[in-house]
């Protein structure tokens, strides 16, 4: 591969806008979102429920259903704008070059079909191989995610697996075609902590091994801290801050990120009250003019009624705020 191809980010999202046209009005679920992910890089996408993380994922997959629609921006995958592709070209990409894993492993596998059926169909959807070969690949993929005696497990139905095992199967299905990008939509949220750690470890290992880019959507900062290389923080449909994980978590620039980090209990805060972000997330139907966080922000001034533009304060660190925190303290 040439160095130019290497430099090209696997995924580049520019000014993405996804709106839902509901009876109550236009819901701006994804609002001017831009980010990029390089080969082998794990990007954490953090935000509260309803902040637009999942819709961002579905927008990349081209799987936004009515009444939702992508109304603007670009989704460049290996330099190609996915929004220009028709449905059948998108289908060729899905599961093949871009894979997705979902939150609830109890629900993502079809309860009435054998694991074998669900894996083999996945292979056959993109490669013209015979069933035996498809089956062999399925066995290999199950082995890859640490499922013992994959031959026998293929014959099983999803309900015969534990939650963690099912998520491993889902990851195995995602890895079948060695995709260049995996979008993981809160895949560990429904699992208990020890299993979560195993899955995170497994996912990280696979990404490193195959140089797969990954977007890990979560609301759990501790997951991102242990897993991701970079992190983007999403609030009310907008990305408010982004940068290297350690830098963002140690020295958050956006008041919202700072609030999020402050509300996580940790060892060195023993005995002190947890801080809380006052107020509630604004409704995406009725976003305030200007910065969506202004009503809850103790640093807000009059000019926050203007929409802040995202700016790169320090190399590799950008923030969408007029009055970012502790710029001085950042090394």
């Amino acid at each position: 591969m040439t160095s130019a191809a290497n430099d090209l980010p696997t995924l580049e999202v520019r000014n993405l806008e996804t709106h839902f046209f509901t009876r109550a009005g236009v819901l701006r679920a994804v609002n001017d979102v831009s980010f990029s992910v390089k080969r082998g890089e794990i990007m954490g996408l953090v935000g509260e429920s309803g902040s637009g993380k999942s819709v961002t994922g579905f927008s990349i997959m081209g799987m936004v259903d009515a009444p939702g629609r992508i109304v603007g921006g670009e989704v460049r995958f290996q330099g190609q704008d996915l929004r220009q592709l028709d449905e059948s070209a998108m289908r060729d990409l899905r599961g093949n070059r871009i894979a997705m894993i979902f939150q609830d492993p109890m629900m993502t596998l079809n309860p009435v079909l054998r694991i074998e059926t669900q894996m083999v169909e996945s292979v056959l959807a993109h490669d013209k191989v015979d069933r035996a070969e498809a089956r062999r690949r399925a066995v290999e993929a199950l082995g890859l995610v640490g499922i013992s005696s994959p031959e026998e497990r293929l014959r099983a139905y999803p309900h015969q697996f534990s939650g963690g095992m099912r998520q491993r199967v889902a990851i195995a299905i995602a890895m079948l075609h060695k995709p260049e990008l995996i979008i993981a939509d809160e895949p560990t949220t429904a699992l208990d902590v020890t299993i979560q750690a195993q899955i995170l470890h497994e996912a990280q290992k696979l990404c490193r091994r195959y140089d797969t880019a990954m977007i890990w959507i979560t609301h759990d900062l501790s997951v991102v801290a242990g897993l991701a290389d970079r992190v983007c923080v999403m609030y009310a449909g907008q990305l408010v801050e982004g940068g290297q994980v350690d830098a963002v978590l140690d020295h958050p620039l956006h008041p919202y990120t700072a609030g999020l980090i402050g509300s996580v209990p940790s060892q060195n805060m023993r005995g002190r009250r947890l801080t809380q972000i006052p107020g509630m997330t604004p409704s995406l139907l009725r976003l305030p003019k200007g910065c969506p966080f202004q009503a809850r922000c103790d640093r807000a001034h009059d000019d926050c009624a203007q929409v802040p533009v995202s700016r790169e304060l320090i190399p590799g660190r950008w923030v969408r705020c007029f009055y970012p925190c502790e710029t001085e303290a950042v090394p």
Binding site: R94, G95, L109, N110, P111, V112, E121
Partner: protein, 325 residues
């Protein structure tokens, strides 16, 4: 599995016994068959002889006792009206009803599931709404009226299909059947459609509800994310999930289609057991009615059992041994 089957069959036998007693007593309460059967001009001695021959002179509990004793041996007595063994009369007419019911079942299942899937996938489209509106008509309008309308349209106005009767029949496994000849098919189509419409509408609604539910499930999203074609998602992932309720209902309805095809058989002059039942009730032909109902219950038992077995094939989470029958 075997224990499960044995327990189910034992329960069924109990049901059969209780039902036979109830029907026997019920028909006894309705009226005296003697009034209907015996020529009023016959003299007293002849009347008396007939009553004794039919065993109607005995008190109810003795009649019941004799009947049950014979029934256990498989003898349901002779028809008061025809003089032939009751079960035999029913069995000779059963194939006609069976084939009608099976064709109706096939129509309702195939079209019901197809329309239901369509309506479930496109709930807001004109086509989807039309299907749902049609299904409401289908099970709201009385069955006999639908039958008459079918005759009016296809037999009278268009003249495409015959209005009634069974048409040409052929021998098949020792039964007279219509479905092997073109003429037979032309005769069976209208009554089968008439019998199917109600069930089809039921299946449409079930399939639509199931489809709408399944389409929102994560496994459908995941299937899309795997890059599967919409056809495979609908025909494998969704269809197999919606078949569970559909099979239950259709299985039960098959029984009721065979047992209570009375209206359709009357409207289309179809010589099946439904018509036989009506005639027998009118004539208070008790052996035939009881034998008919015993057969019906037996059929329901078998169908329910089959449905449970199909369940375990459709839904791997169902374990038959754990089912409290």
């Amino acid at each position: 599995m075997l224990v499960y089957l044995i327990r189910r069959l034992a329960q069924s036998i109990l049901v059969l016994l209780v039902m036979a007693v109830l029907v026997f007593v019920g028909i006894f309460a309705v009226g005296n068959p003697v009034d209907v059967l015996i020529n009023p001009e016959a003299d007293l001695q002849e009347q008396q002889a007939t009553i004794e021959r039919l065993g109607l002179d005995l008190p109810l509990h003795e009649q019941l006792f004799v009947f049950m004793g014979n029934a256990v041996k498989g003898d349901f007595g002779r028809s008061f009206l025809h003089g032939e063994p009751a079960m035999e009369i029913i069995l000779t007419r059963l194939p006609a009803t069976m084939e009608l019911a099976v064709v109706a079942l096939a129509i309702s299942l195939v079209f019901g599931v197809l329309f239901g899937l369509w309506a479930g996938l496109k709930p807001y489209a004109f086509s989807g709404k039309t299907i749902m509106a049609g299904s409401i008509l289908g099970f709201s309008l009385p069955n006999f009226w639908q039958g008459l309308m079918l005759i009016l349209i296809f037999a009278v106005f268009l003249g495409w299909l015959p209005a009634g009767g069974r048409g040409e029949t052929t021998e098949f496994l020792g039964m007279r059947v219509s479905f092997l000849t073109a003429d037979g098919w032309s005769h069976i189509l209208l009554p089968a459609l008439n019998l199917a419409i109600f069930k089809m509408c039921l299946v449409i609604r079930l399939a639509r509800a199931g489809t709408r539910e399944a389409a929102l499930q994560d496994y459908v999203k995941f299937a899309r994310a795997k890059g599967l074609s919409p056809r495979r998602i609908v025909l494998v992932h969704i269809l197999k999930n919606i078949m569970i309720p559909v099979v239950t209902v259709v299985g039960l309805e098959l029984g009721s289609m065979i047992a209570f095809a009375v209206v359709t058989e009357t409207v289309f002059a179809w010589p099946g057991i439904g018509k036989l039942l009506i005639d027998s009730i009118v004539n208070l032909d008790r052996p035939v009615v009881v034998a008919y109902l015993v057969l019906t219950v037996f059929m329901f038992v078998i169908i329910n059992l089959t449905v449970d077995l199909i369940y375990s094939v459709l839904d791997p989470r169902v374990r038959l041994a754990e089912v409290k029958a």
